[in-house]
């Protein structure tokens, strides 16, 4: 079971910065995207958390009331390696661990891209969207892109 989360951790530790896109949908099945800069892995390998400022939630809160089945694409901006996880999502307040994850990722972004501008990124009030992972897909470019992976052996 830990191979799948190890892969996400490898994305987070990889070169460049890891970004994410949280996808939800409304009652007309119109998809929405929310940009994510903070990720958290907990001891339960089937739970992945996206951390983002409340202002960045967009339609997410409303959409999750319509359908709590969401998707989170996590991709390393330097290598394009990525995975997409899907599952039931819940929205709640962020925590200090989430704030640390987000600030760590922003620091890496500033170092890699030499973008002082990112010092100004809003991080509070922090919210957390936690996915209970039901599906995982390979999103790394190549012949296996889009391939569904087994949660128990999700290495890519």
């Amino acid at each position: 079971m830990d191979i799948y989360t190890n892969h996400i951790q490898r994305l987070l530790d990889g070169p460049a910065q890891t970004v994410g896109y949280l996808g939800t949908r409304d009652e007309q099945c119109q998809a929405s995207i929310t940009f994510v800069l903070g990720f958290g892995l907990k001891s339960d390998p089937l739970r992945v958390t996206a951390y983002l400022p409340e202002a960045a939630l967009g339609n997410t809160a409303r959409n999750l009331k319509t359908s709590d089945y969401a998707t989170l694409l996590i991709v390393n901006a330097g290598t394009f390696e990525g995975v997409q996880v899907k599952g039931h999502a819940s929205l709640g307040p962020g925590d200090t661990a989430g704030e640390s994850f987000l600030k760590m990722n922003l620091k890496r972004m500033m170092e890699f891209y030499d973008m002082e501008f990112y010092k100004e990124v809003r991080t509070a009030p922090l919210m957390a969207v936690e996915l209970t992972v039901k599906e995982i897909y390979n999103q790394t470019p190549g012949d296996k892109a889009g391939e569904r992976l087994q949660l128990e052996e999700g290495g890519v």
């Binding site: 996808g23 998809a31 899907k86 889009g146």
Partner: protein, 137 residues
């Protein structure tokens, strides 16, 4: 509708993304190598792998595209899928650019343009939620 700033972001260093929704209400997000300016109201997305995106668009042509520029400025485009082109000027130009991207990334064996998906742009707005009040220039 598509301003020079947005076109600049379409060439951004971050992977852009497209979100679609299946007939049974499951959202899907995929990264895009290229968001190509066709004209003021149309863009083309490079179709390389996109199996789930393609399947979703057959039932629901509405999608959302997010692009991120060099300075972190983001735009969201609400789009409607029209057709896939596999020849012609747009396809050929996108194929050339994709080859350049692939060469730069050392992924010549992986990146291959299958088609240029043409979308009508219905609405565009800048996403300032992370940087509201901050001048990114």
């Amino acid at each position: 509708m598509i301003t020079p700033d947005i076109r600049y972001a379409m060439d951004g260093i971050y992977p852009a993304a497209v979100a679609t929704c299946s007939a049974d209400g499951i959202p899907n997000v995929a990264t895009i190598s290229q968001v190509w300016y066709v004209d003021d109201r149309h863009v083309a997305l490079s179709r390389q792998f996109f199996n789930k995106t393609k399947a979703n668009l057959e039932n629901n042509p509405n999608a959302i595209v997010r692009v991120i520029g060099m300075q972190g400025r983001m735009w969201e485009m609400r789009v409607r899928f029209l057709r896939t082109e596999t020849s012609g000027s747009t396809f050929e130009q996108m194929a050339l650019k994709l080859n350049a991207i692939a060469s730069y990334m050392g992924m010549e064996e992986v990146f291959r343009l299958v088609g240029a998906d043409i979308y009508e742009v219905l609405h565009v707005h800048e996403c300032t939620e992370y940087w509201d009040g901050v001048d990114p220039a």
